[in-house]
């Protein structure tokens, strides 16, 4: 469908007034309900690669990008977190409202607001639009996903809607780039147009009751439109919000207005919702038509199985099993090639450089250490490809729905699921996305358990140990033990996160469970471009981390493993001399000092050093092992790290250091241990910063370490007692 002409609006045909621009730059803010395609529109306008997903809550921060309009003028676009209203009851809604009111630190008040509204859910989307229209800012409505609306039998007339709202409406299909040029023109012209303001009237009694409150807000510096919007909003909320903290006498004015509204027989809490939805119902009736086909859509038919009380969870577990099995079966040939590449590189460099410290640094340190992490790139790519497919098709929203039952049973808010889900990729964005959770206690409980979700940094450790010590035998005919072991590690982390959340909600962070209201988007075919962008982005981040943090730490570890040098007695076999040198090095001495603490878990000093070094980032464990076994090896070739682990013998007992039991215990340790400086820093900040933030992050680090040590101890000792080895 060509929508370019569908949204012809009075505004776009009006003479072009001089836009209001601060320093030549037009500031535009994008707001909208979650999952309206707002971030897709942002990417399409700015050419940026902001993360998008077919479920709500993907954008939790404000993100800025730029484009040039048809006249070459620069336009700065701010993508605000998705929000159903401006009620400022959660941190992300508070961000959106404070930016729109020009009260956000370091952010200019927008010259134009673009409200992205989903044409399929016009009624709900117009609630936010009606609030924004009252703020006194020039506003454009991007009526997005009109193609999907037409498929669902919904036809919205943009011209009629423009007349109803008093603001230009442009039909768009952001995923296909349709309607964007018209939207850009409408934005450029809207900057010089008067604001729409409120398009409905309150009952006379209600209007009289809120008038003093509006006057109080105007005295506090708000424009009359924004004051009218805030006055209605304040009747429905329990907290005033920090952006209005400067308004004198506001609390008393709110209480007085509530009392007067109630005295007039109108429930104060529902006044705003009733007034807005009453007006919206008329607007929708006059501007939209819906053809009821009566037939079940494909989404309905899929959901009959995917959301079924019994089949739903089974489908979910089967899908996850398939994902984890594919990580092994599909990645194996690719991994072998990357491994062969690094082996050849090591051998090549080794043959060019003469023997000496620099050669050892490059071959044993850099190639042996960083190379042993980089071989896991195929696994990372495959995992994110699957996550991307599940997100883009809309299945992740169903997974959230299925998980909601479990979330509520442990006392967590359903909204906690999306941050926990983000934790599978990385805990840092997961912790940040808890901003969508309204209740501070629920938010804190979610942050406290989020790093228990297995992030992608654990994949190199899991796959190294599973590949080396878990045999690839078939399970139930279709699955294999390696994939099932990986799935078990993810399930262990997830179930423990839920159990710990239940503990926190019963003790430190007591509070009732709240129900989740979540929109289930229709299923879509994933966009190849979006998938390629998302996977490419993750792969480049992994490579960047390997090339910066991991590389630097590996070089430092190589130095610690190399100096001071020892001189072996003449006639000492090369392998023994290398082992002697490693034990004499700073790293060896540190390792032997650590060893008593890790010996009860079945680990030797080398694993102890790997654990300590991975406090900076989990993947460093693999790099450390690569470096230690590189430096400590007299072997001129560079066999795969997993082969080196299999060959490693305990210097005292002569028995293998790594057994399947030690490997499982080590994986369990990494399921629980909080080994990530970036996550700790973000937890400090998101739990209040300063001493309070440090206390929460310290508590989290300590309980997770205790959990990791205790669980690894139980696995190893329990396994030995049961006759495993």
């Amino acid at each position: 469908m060509d929508v370019a002409g569908a949204g012809a609006t009075p505004a776009t045909h009006a003479p072009s007034p001089a836009p209001v621009r601060g320093g030549g730059l037009l500031h535009v803010a994008l707001v909208g309900n979650p999952n309206t395609g707002k971030s897709t529109l942002f990417n399409a306008l700015t050419g940026m690669r902001q993360r998008v997903g077919n479920y709500s809550g993907v954008t939790v921060e404000r993100v800025e990008g730029r484009y040039r309009d048809a006249d070459g003028h620069p336009v700065a676009v701010l993508d605000l977190p998705g929000t159903y209203s401006l009620s400022a009851s959660s941190p992300d809604e508070e961000i959106a409202l404070s930016v729109l009111l020009g009260r956000a630190r370091g952010v200019a008040q927008p010259d134009v607001v673009v409200v992205v509204a989903d044409a399929q859910n016009l009624e709900r989307n117009l609630f936010l639009a009606s609030q924004v229209l009252e703020l006194g800012l020039p506003t454009v409505i991007a009526l997005n996903q009109v193609d999907a609306a037409l498929n669902a039998g919904i036809r919205v007339d943009p011209i009629e809607l423009t007349l109803e709202l008093g603001a230009p409406v442009v039909a768009t299909v952001a995923t296909k780039g349709e309607g964007l040029e018209l939207l850009k023109r409408a934005v450029g012209k809207a900057a010089g147009l008067p604001a729409a303001g409120r398009q409905f009237e309150l009952e006379p009694e209600a209007a009289r009751a809120v008038a003093p409150l509006e006057a109080c807000l105007v005295r506090g510096g708000l424009n009359p439109g924004a004051a009218a919007m805030e006055a209605l909003r304040l009747l429905a909320v329990t907290q005033i919000g920090p952006h209005l903290a400067h308004v004198e006498g506001l609390a008393a004015a709110v209480e007085a207005a509530k009392a007067e509204v109630e005295a007039a027989g109108i429930p104060a809490r529902s006044l705003e919702a009733e007034a807005r939805y009453g007006w919206i119902a008329g607007v929708v009736e006059r501007t939209a038509t819906q053809t009821h086909t009566g037939k079940k859509t494909l989404t309905d038919r899929i959901d009959a199985v995917a959301l079924h009380r019994v089949w739903g969870p089974l489908v979910f577990v089967a899908l996850m099993a398939l994902v984890f099995q594919s990580i092994f079966t599909w990645a194996a040939p690719l991994m072998d090639r990357v491994e062969a590449l690094f082996n050849a590189l090591g051998a090549g460099v080794g043959s060019v450089l003469p023997a000496g410290d620099l050669r050892s640094l490059v071959v044993d340190g850099v190639i042996g250490g960083v190379g042993s992490v980089l071989v896991f790139l195929p696994q990372i790519v495959i995992l994110f490809l699957f996550i991307g497919i599940l997100e883009d098709t809309g299945y992740m929203a169903r997974a959230a729905f299925i998980m909601d039952r479990f979330m509520r049973s442990v006392g967590l808010h359903g909204r906690s699921f999306i941050p926990l889900l983000s934790g599978y990729a990385c805990a840092v964005p997961g912790v940040m996305s808890t901003r969508t959770i309204e209740s501070p206690k629920d938010r804190l409980a979610t942050i406290m358990v989020l790093p228990l979700m297995s992030c992608s940094a654990r994949i190199p450790i899991y796959t190294l140990l599973i590949g080396a010590f878990i045999p690839p035998v078939a399970v139930a005919g279709i699955f294999n033990l390696q994939g099932m072991t990986l799935l078990a590690m993810y399930l262990l982390g997830t179930l423990t996160a839920l159990a710990m959340a239940a503990v926190f909600k019963q003790t430190l962070l007591k509070g009732r469970a709240r129900p989740m209201i979540m929109e289930l988007p229709p299923y879509r075919i994933p966009s190849v471009r979006s998938l390629a962008m998302s996977v490419g982005h993750r792969a480049s981040m992994f490579l960047r981390k390997a090339g910066t943090v991991i590389l630097s730490l590996t070089i430092v570890l190589w130095a610690l493993a190399t100096y001071p040098k020892s001189h072996a007695a003449p006639g000492t076999p090369p392998a023994a001399a290398q082992e002697q040198q490693l034990a004499h090095s700073l790293l060896g001495r540190m390792g032997h000092a650590i060893e008593p603490a890790v010996r009860p878990l079945g680990y030797d000093w080398k694993i102890g050093v790997g654990i300590v070094s991975s406090f900076a980032a989990r993947e460093v464990f693999v790099a450390t092992m690569g470096t230690i076994y590189g430096v400590g090896s007299a072997d001129e070739t560079t066999p795969a790290l997993r082969d080196r682990l299999k060959r490693e013998r305990n210097e005292r007992t002569g028995l293998p250091v790594y057994t399947p039991l030690v490997a499982v215990g080590l994986m369990v340790f990494y399921v629980y241990a909080m080994m990530c400086m970036s996550t700790i820093a973000v937890v400090v900040r998101e739990t209040g910063g300063g001493r309070k933030g440090l206390a929460w992050a310290g508590f989290q680090f300590a309980y997770m370490l205790a959990l990791a040590y205790g669980a690894a101890f139980l696995v190893y000792r329990g396994g030995l007692a049961l006759g495993f080895h």
């Binding site: 993360r51 921060e61 404000r62 941190p91 961000i95 956000a104 630190r105 450089l353 003469p354 023997a355 000496g356 410290d357 620099l358 050669r359 050892s360 640094l361 990729a425 990385c426 805990a427 840092v428 964005p429 912790v431 940040m432 940094a457 982005h537 993750r538 981040m541 992994f542 960047r544 981390k545 910066t548 943090v549 590389l551 630097s552 730490l553 070089i555 430092v556 190589w558 130095a559 900076a616 980032a617 400086m677 970036s678 700790i680 820093a681 973000v682 400090v684 900040r685 998101e686 910063g689 300063g690 933030g693 440090l694 992050a697």
Partner: protein
Amino acid sequence: MSGEMLQTLLAGLVVLAALVYVGRRAWRTVLAGRAAKDGDGCGGDCGCGH
């Protein structure tokens, strides 16, 4: 200067550069913990994709 000593010197310089980088990263991580709530969090190169 012998070839072996030259190699040791070069390796030392690389290690020094790595130490400076690790120290700078650690300091930035501490600062990120102190930063205002609407900041970026991880500093962009922690590998998280944000």
